[in-house]
Symmetry: C2
Subunit: 425 residues, 2 copies
């Protein structure tokens, strides 16, 4: 039931976000957990996270929004619509960061949502739907694992009681941290209605920058699987053990790393394989390595290809460990199937970008996002803007002001179009 | 000037070491620093090391030996000879261990030397030369780096004043530790004369065990070079960074590990290449690795081949880093040229093993030993016995009692032969 996405109330046509306020919000909130290297350390439900949450609530109240908190600490700012019977159009992302995170990942999506509401308010714009901004708790998973835990509870992927018990490294549970910060809200998580969800985000990859596009129209999230590989060889003296008699876990790990890379390359440009972590023991320059633990991360937009990569890796890795006379265990620790975003929502984003003459391309999100869980329960889409060198989860993370403003204006336009064309009776 | 190594005074012919005492000494001294897993943690000049040193001195005194300590804490037990003008024949090794070391590495050489003196004393054997046992301080290098520091000072490789200043992790200097344990002796290190030095040791590798030989006649020590390799890539999101745009330090490290192994294999059975340590940062399963530091250890009995391996590695590693778009630095941190032991001493060992009908083969030591430094200043040889699975620097280190006894008897026989044939006027 594709509707004409170009329909828009005449009175809302000239609305733009206030670029200066948005950029100021980004730099102002970067103080909460700001690092010396220009990044942010703002772990979920930390003192700094509470500071930025309190700030967001105050800003919402200034814009006469209703602020509500649910039982997972998810924070909603509501700009009321003309028809209270319609579920709200929701924009958002998250304000928590990695320990050495940047100023844009997540934050941009929330503050751009706030900028949209500010523009609506400033222009006394009437929308049929309520327009909301949400800040999801603990998206990064840096303090409480797994990532995206609160949008996961919201979407029915995780059980709230189980989530409450998850603890950080200091044995503080999510529930304790919610209570401590005053963000254990009264609304049962997941009961908040959502008509559609739009998440604006930096790409966190180099594709848009490389192709000099301002906008990525995100059509979905790729499938991801993660593994822990344990290799057991035999620690031995590096000076006395002939190569032919070694059972070298490090050499095995090296072959597996090269193998995973080769497998990804054989599965096309969109396939990715990453060995990001390795621990090699005993870890002495003159001892052949006896034990390795390493991670493997496989991704592709097509779950069947992820499956095929996994199978190829399993098969060929077995040959490697046979040749190196080592024992190997491959444990799959995570399996996140690919997500296809809502066609109508994605079309809205694409059409608005086209109308606004923003250079754009369709893109698959390589990273997980709250939107991937929201897509299970409501029409969802995402918008990407470029970030310098594709850098993210890094204090040097950077997005250009003109891209930041363009993305926020596209979000505004998309919301207005959605408001105009959704739920027409 | 090869002398007839079979000449031996008639009266010493039937001497054997006391097997039970040697095995008891090995198990008794293993209490000093003994670990739950059956190994030993006896770092140089620790409380436990002092205990075993004190024990050794007492045992020496029981055998009416003169005990002397030099300025590096090297401990000499002297069984007097008939002709005091002749420099002593010295046997020995070290009593310090790795933090999770075994019961034989070093210890066997010292206690077998003690067993030789015990046999001489028990049989009221007259030797022309004084026969000595030495315990070299800090052979392992586990507490104070580098390894073999006191035999190094003894042999003029290291400067004593510089050695004194070397500190452990708690900032305790060698000199302080010598004073604290009461082992800062009055004799200037290196002024003690040595006619010839014989070191008995476990092989610390699998060759003898694999070939079912009781004795390794050690002809020298292989050349060794060690490197620290630093790889600088670009940390990037594992989900969003296409393979073609990555600068993956982990992948580079994997290729270099495989490369080093291939180079060793191309340089013959005696060539060895080991990557024993790796640190990969930022070290997250969903982040492409930006920085790797890894070690490389290259060894071969022929220094020219070590040189050739190094050159091949340098050249091919440069191609790897070009392909992976990473920057690489290879720093050589250690260069220990190969050592050829004294032909006459080695022949003595070989001939004695042959006469005693012990299965034996010539072997090159893959590990460094005090003997490698002693070889610079006096005729030197080593004797190896097998150790189970080639395991060493490991609490599970094991040598069979019959091999232990056979090796000690060979040491005794070699000493008696050397005494009989050296310095005949």
């Amino acid at each position: 039931m594709t509707k004409n996405a170009t329909t828009m109330p005449e009175e809302n046509k000239e609305i733009h976000i206030d670029a200066a306020s948005l950029l100021t919000d980004l730099s102002e909130t970067a103080r909460f957990g700001g690092t010396q290297k220009g990044g942010i350390c703002r772990l979920a439900l930390s003192k700094e996270d509470k500071q930025v949450r309190d700030w967001l609530s105050r800003e919402g109240e200034k814009l006469l929004c209703t602020v509500s908190i649910d039982s997972m600490g998810n924070q909603f700012l509501r700009y009321p619509g003309l028809d209270d019977s319609l579920p709200p159009l929701v924009m958002g992302s998250h304000l928590d960061t990695q320990p050495t995170g940047g100023k844009y990942d997540g934050i941009y999506g929330v503050l751009a949502g706030l900028a949209v509401i500010r523009a609506l308010r400033a222009n006394e714009c009437k929308t049929r739907h309520a327009i909301e901004v949400v800040n999801w708790t603990n998206e990064e998973g840096a303090r409480f694992s797994p990532a995206m835990i609160s949008s996961g509870v919201f979407s029915g992927v995780f059980d709230q009681q189980a989530a409450y018990k998850i603890c950080d490294r200091n044995n503080v549970s999510i529930k304790d941290a919610l209570e401590e910060t005053g963000y254990l809200g009264p609304i049962p998580c997941g009961q908040h209605p959502v008509r559609a969800y739009f998440e604006l985000h930096i790409e966190q990859g180099p594709v848009l920058e490389n192709e000099k596009k301002t906008i990525g129209v995100v059509t979905g999230v790729q499938g991801m699987r993660r593994y822990i590989i344990s290799i057991r060889g035999q620690a031995a003296h590096a000076g006395t053990t002939p190569m032919a008699l070694r059972r070298d876990a490090m050499l095995t790990a090296a072959h597996l790393t090269v193998l995973a890379t080769d497998i990804a390359r054989k599965h096309g440009d969109e396939a990715k394989a990453t060995v990001g972590e390795i621990t090699a023991l005993p870890g002495s320059s003159n001892v052949v390595c006896g034990d390795v633990t390493m991670t493997l991360d496989l991704r592709h937009p097509d779950d069947k290809i992820v499956e095929s990569m996994e199978a190829a890796f399993h098969q060929q890795a077995a040959s490697v460990s046979e040749i190196t006379k080592t024992q190997m265990q491959i444990e799959r620790t995570w399996n996140s199937p690919s997500v296809q975003f809502d066609e109508e929502c994605v079309s809205l984003v694409r059409n608005c970008a086209e109308e606004m003459q923003l250079t754009h391309r369709d893109i698959i999100s390589g990273a997980g996002h709250d939107a991937a869980y929201l897509a299970r329960i409501c029409p969802t889409a995402m918008i990407f803007i470029p970030c310098r060198d594709g850098l993210s989860h890094n204090e040097a993370e950077h997005a250009e002001p003109e891209d930041i403003v363009a993305g926020a204006n596209l979000l505004l336009e998309t919301i207005l179009k959605a408001d105009a064309c959704f739920d027409l009776t």
